[in-house]
């Protein structure tokens, strides 16, 4: 069963042959190439790097290129839908604009002062900040966490796990100088304080990142800044 149309669309049934090591993306690609060329979906790298192929598979947001059918559909039946919490453009394609706009709202852009004439910043791998960054930096922006987050559903202004995780990596980047502004951007009802620690983002993240831990870190950082009068 594959979602067709916009948000008011419906599921359409297709029969797809099974073969070894078949992924959900393989199934969708087979449908488009062999059964219905009008099916809209999005992918690029096929190897879990680009973060474009995420969809809702049997009710769970997943990266489809690295999701084997054996893992998610033991009886051979699949229900493939677009990601939750994002506007549906058509079929399996969602509009990711709002998702990435929230990265910008969370000040997810590095702001340093060094120029090419300056020497490299020295950040040791063992430094506490760098350890935190290492744990969170591998995000591929697939939107699985955002689609899995109930707080995003309930509070459309909520920045979401990915944007807050990105902010957390920059809060721990000793070269970045925009943290006062960043902590203001991620505080409050639309930011880290809205998180209820449901941990769905951490449970579903295909890169095994824990945005929940990053958001908890942001809560601590915001409170410390508030107590120091720097917020």
């Amino acid at each position: 069963m594959v979602w067709r149309g916009g948000s008011d669309g419906a599921f359409q049934e297709f029969e797809v042959p099974r073969y070894a090591s078949q992924t959900v993306l393989d199934v969708v690609t087979h449908i488009q190439r062999a059964l219905d060329p009008t099916l809209a979906y999005r992918y690029a790298c096929r190897v879990g790097m680009c973060g474009t192929c995420a969809m809702t598979v049997n009710g769970v947001a997943r990266w489809t290129c690295r999701t084997h059918i054996d893992k998610v559909a033991k009886d051979g039946a699949l229900e493939i839908a677009p990601l939750r919490n994002l506007p549906v453009i058509r079929d399996l394609v969602t509009d990711m604009g709002e998702f990435f706009d929230k990265w910008a709202k969370a000040r997810g852009c590095f702001e340093g002062t060094a120029t090419r004439k300056d020497d490299f910043a020295k950040v040791t791998p063992e430094s506490p900040g760098r350890v935190q960054v290492d744990a969170a930096i591998e995000c591929i922006g697939c939107g699985v966490c955002y689609a899995s987050c109930d707080v995003v559903t309930w509070n459309p202004d909520y920045l979401g796990p990915a944007a807050l995780n990105r902010a957390w990596t920059l809060v721990n980047d000793t070269r970045d100088l925009a943290n006062a502004k960043r902590l203001r951007a991620v505080a409050g009802d639309a930011g880290c304080h809205a998180c209820h620690t449901h941990v769905s983002c951490t449970e579903r993240c295909p890169k095994h990142i824990s945005p929940t831990a990053g958001i908890a870190g942001l809560k601590r950082a915001v409170v410390k800044a508030a107590l120091r009068g720097e917020l």
Binding site: V151, W154, N155, A187, G188, D189, G191, V223, A226, L231
Partner: protein, 112 residues
């Protein structure tokens, strides 16, 4: 409401939660002791009336509830009923005052 006030509300809710953890444990232990010990209502009142210790303890308990509950309700009203306007916060201030007043009335009922 600004991010500073939002942060302050979050801190107040966490701080009041920490107080409530202690209060609930002491309250439950006291209730179990009173019931299992077979104390009558008259005997309980005999211990609470005029006791400034119990007055202080239950006053803190009530005031922590009056702080904690409306802040939690604020999130529930926002997320479940999409009530995010200023009227929500006014209603919650009234609700907090009501909780505090009714709670303190009950506390004074066993103190006086």
């Amino acid at each position: 409401m600004t991010f500073r006030n939002e942060t302050l509300l979050w801190m107040l809710q966490r701080a009041s939660a920490a107080v409530l953890v202690l209060c609930v444990v002491v309250h439950l232990a006291t209730m179990i002791y009173a019931i299992r010990g077979g104390l009558s209502a008259g005997e309980i009142l005999g211990r609470t009336r005029g006791s400034y210790g119990w007055l202080a303890f239950y006053s803190v308990f009530v005031l922590a509830c009056a702080v904690h509950v409306p802040i939690g309700m604020r999130a529930v009203l926002s997320e479940w009923l999409a009530w995010r306007s200023g009227s929500r916060d006014i209603a919650l201030v009234v609700f907090a005052a009501l909780l505090a007043a009714l709670g303190m009335r009950a506390v004074m009922g066993v103190f006086l």
